[in-house]
Symmetry: C2
Amino acid sequence: MRYINFDKTTVYSKLKEAASGTGGFDLCQKLNAERVKNCSIPIAETLIYNWAAKKAGNDIISLLQILSDEQELISKYKLLLDGEVMNTGENRRVLHHLLRGQLGKDVIADGKNIGRFYKEELERFSKFAEDVRSGKIKSSTGKKFTYAVQIGIGGSDLGPRAVYLALENWAAKEAAAQSIKAKFISNVDPDDASAVLKSVPLEETLFVLVSKSGTTQETLANELFVKDKLKKANLDPSKHFVAVTSETSPLARNSGYLDSFYIDDYIGGRYSSSSAVGGVILSLAFGPAVFKDFLQGAHEADKAALEPNVLKNAALLDALIGVWERNFLRMPYTAVLPYSQALSRFPAHLQQLDMESNGKQVNRSGGKVDYETGPVVFGEPGTNGQHSFYQLLHQGTDIVPLQFIGFNESQLKDDVLVDGSTGNTKLKANLCAQIVAFAKGQANSNPNKYFPGGRPSSLIYGNRLTPKAMGALLAHFENKVMFQGFVWNLNSFDQEGVQLGKLLTKKVLSGESGDDALDAYSKLLEI
Amino acid sequence: MRYINFDKTTVYSKLKEAASGTGGFDLCQKLNAERVKNCSIPIAETLIYNWAAKKAGNDIISLLQILSDEQELISKYKLLLDGEVMNTGENRRVLHHLLRGQLGKDVIADGKNIGRFYKEELERFSKFAEDVRSGKIKSSTGKKFTYAVQIGIGGSDLGPRAVYLALENWAAKEAAAQSIKAKFISNVDPDDASAVLKSVPLEETLFVLVSKSGTTQETLANELFVKDKLKKANLDPSKHFVAVTSETSPLARNSGYLDSFYIDDYIGGRYSSSSAVGGVILSLAFGPAVFKDFLQGAHEADKAALEPNVLKNAALLDALIGVWERNFLRMPYTAVLPYSQALSRFPAHLQQLDMESNGKQVNRSGGKVDYETGPVVFGEPGTNGQHSFYQLLHQGTDIVPLQFIGFNESQLKDDVLVDGSTGNTKLKANLCAQIVAFAKGQANSNPNKYFPGGRPSSLIYGNRLTPKAMGALLAHFENKVMFQGFVWNLNSFDQEGVQLGKLLTKKVLSGESGDDALDAYSKLLEI
C-alpha cells in the first residue's frame, strides 16, 4: 500500500485548477428536478444520501473518483477491516467495524480471535441488561432498577448520549414500556453530578462507569462523588455500579462492581458507541434487541462503504466532496443540521468524531502536511437553527457547507393539523425550502433582501429515525471521516493533541506548574 | 455621526500591515505573570475580562483605540441608548439596554415614555409571577402550578433557556425552595412538544406562549398542539396559558390567555432575554427578585461599556480584538468554552446573538462590503470539550480563537476531595492549563506530540455564576456584538436572511412551489 501526502497526488493540481476555473457545479442555474432524482445513493436499507445541491458536477466527480483510486481509499479501508495497524502513532489496530459484524479476515491478536471476543462481550452485557430489566438483578435495597446513569466523558459520553436521545422517543412509542431511563454525568464540574443525582431515586439507580484506561480524571472523580452519596444514603456502592473498561484496567474484575464488560485498545473512544461503552446503557434502556438492530444498521452502512465506485458509495462520496469543499473551495467549516429534535446532540458527537480524528497537522508518519485537514463542525436541529444562525449561512460573507438530515415520519406520531398541515409536514417543508433557498438564492433590488445562493448542502434522509437508521447514520459519518483521513494521509485514530492540557493540569494540581503565567492564571481563579 | 465602511478607515491599512508584519503579540515567548496580572478589565461588579493570551500587544491595542475612535463606537452606542433609529433596515430603535435601566435620554415614541412602559411591564409580570408562585393564581383544577413551559423559538427560546439552565442550580441552593420548574418547547418537529408534555403534569402546568408578532409558524403550531392535549385532558386552555407578545399582535388582550405581557418592536428577538420574553419564565421559576438581580448585572455591564478607553472597556476591547482576529489574522470562527456545566446552552445562545446580528454582507445602507463580517461561533462546556474537539484546537491546521469562561466557586457547593483536590479545583486547574497550553504550546522531537502554541484565548471570570454575574455575561456579549457591528458598518439588528426560507416553506405547504427542484425534494421526503 502507498501512503503519500494529498498534495503529492497527480489529481491534486487538477482539482485546484477546477476550483479556480468554474468552481464546480452552478447551483443557482442548474439545480433541477432531474439532478435531485439522479443524485441519491443508499447508505443502508434505511437511509439515503443525496448530493444534488453540492457544487460538484460530472467533471469534479470524475476527479474525485481518480483521487479515491490514487489514494487507494477502498483498499485502505479493507486493510483496516483485516486488522492492519492503522493507528500508527499508538501502534494499534482499528476495529470498531468488527463490533457490528465481520467484513474482513479473522483478526487474531493478543492470543485471541477479536471478533469472537467482541461477540462474547455483546452477549454478556445483553444478558446482564435483560436480568436488570426483568428485575432478576436488583438494587441493594431489593428494588427494581428504574434509572441507569452513565459516568464517562468524551467518547464514553457524547456518542452514547446522542444515540440514547435519538431513540428515547422511538422506544417510548415502539418498544415494550421502557422500564429504565438513562441519564449521563460527564463534566468534572461537581455541579453536573450533583444536579443529576438530585433528579434520580438513588436506591433504584444503576451507575455505568465507563473508562477504557480506568484512569480518566473526570470519570474517577465523579465515581467517588457518586459513591460518597450512596454511602451517605446507606446504600452499598458495589450493588449499584457496573464497569465498562479494558481487561488490563484497575476496574476490571473488581469486586467493587456488580459486573465488568470489556473493550480493548482497538476501539477508540469516539468510535466506541457500538461497543459495551454504548451497548450497556442502551441495552439497559431499550433492551438488547434494540441495540442489536442499531448494530445491524451500522453494519449495513459499513458494507456499502466497500464499493469502489464513488457514485455508488455514499460515505466515500460524502468524504470526497468534503475534501473538495475544504481544500479547493476553501470552506473551513461544516454545519450538520438534523431536522429531528431527537438528533439534538448528534452534532456534538460529530464534533468529536470529526475534529478529534482529523484536526491534525502531521501525517501518519509524523511529517507536517502543507494543506488544510479536518474542518470545524457545528450544528443544531432544524427548525430551531433557522431562527438562530441561519442568517449568517444565507447572507454571511463566507460560505459554510451544510449537511441536512431528515425523515418522512416523526418518531412519536403524535401530531396535530394546523392551517392544513401537520407539524411533521411543516418540518419537512422547511427542510426542502432551506436546501433550495441556500442553493438558488433570490434576486432582489433591495440589497438587504438579496440572497446570493450557491451555498452547497447535502441531504441524508430516511423513512423514520429507527434503531437501524440511527446505526447507519452513525456509521456513515465514521466512514466518511475515515476516508477523509486516508485522503489527507493522517492517522485519524490517535489524539495526541489532548495530552499537553492533561499534563499541565497535573502540574497545577501538584502545586508545581513551573510556569509563571500558569501560576498567575491559577491565582485569578483562586486555586 | 459618520458611517463609513471599515476598509475606508485610515487605520485599516495599518492593521493590515501589522498583521503581515509581526502578526501581533508573540504568545509562545512573551505570555508571563506580569501580563496576566495587567490585562484584566472589569465587566461589572461580578465579572472580569482578561485578554493576556490574545495576540495583541501595545502596538495593536493603540491601533484598535484609533479604530474605536475613528468608527466612533462609543458615540454610536450613546446614540443607540438615546433611542436613535439604529435598525435602519426596519426603521426601528434598538432599546434592549433600556430594559435594564436608563443610560441615555428619555425615549418617547408611539406616544409614550418607552422606559416607563418597560418598567410597568416588568412590575406587571413580577406581580403575576408572585401570584402564581404563592398559589393565588391557580390552575383550572384549583391546583398550584408546579411547572412552567415556554413555547417559543429562536430568541424566545435560546436566551431564556440558556439563562434558566445557568441559574437552575444556583437557585436550588440559594433561593427559597424553587416551587416551579421550567421546560421549553421550540421545534416544529412534533416529537419535541410531545416529549415535553409527557414529562410534566398537565393539570399543574402553566404555558408561556412567546411570539412578538403572534404569527410565528412553529410557535402557533405548538400552541395548538398543547391546547389540543389540554382539551383532551378536560382542562381549560385559557386557564393554563399566558402570552408574551407585542400590543398589536392577535395574542394581545385576548381572553384565551390568563394574562398578556408586552414587548415592542425595539426589542429584537435575540436581545429579548431581559424583557418579558425571558422575564416571565425566569420570574416564575426563580422569583422576580432573582430576575431583577439579573437585570442589575446586565445594567452594570452596559454602563461599563460607555468607557472610551479600550483598556478600560471589556466589551469594546473584546469586540476589537475579535475584529483583529477575523479580518487581519484571518480566523473565521470563535469558540466559546465555559468551564461551568450550568452554561451548557450559553454557546447556543451566542451562536444566534453573534451570527444572526453580524452574519451579513451589506452595510447599514445596503452597500456590499468588501471585508469579512461575523464569524462562525460554536462551543461546549469544559472539561467536556477537552475530550472532544480540542484536538483540532491544539493541533489542527487552522487557528480558532477561544473565549474561556470560569468561576472560582461552583454553584451547588456539593463536592468531594479526590486525590487531594475537589472537583471544582480540578475544573479550574484544567481551565488554566488549557489557556497556557494553547498559548505556549510545547516542543517535542516527536512531531505527533508537538504543540505549536500561538493559539489565542481570553478569559472571563468571576467569583460565582450568580444572577448578577449571568446578567453581566449576557450583556457583555450583546455589547461586544454591537461594537463589532459598528466597526463593520452593519445593521446588527435586522435578520433579512431568514425570510427566503419562510417564503419557500409557505409555497411548499400551499402546493405551489414554482420550482421543480423544490418539488423533487418534497417528493423525496413524501410531502
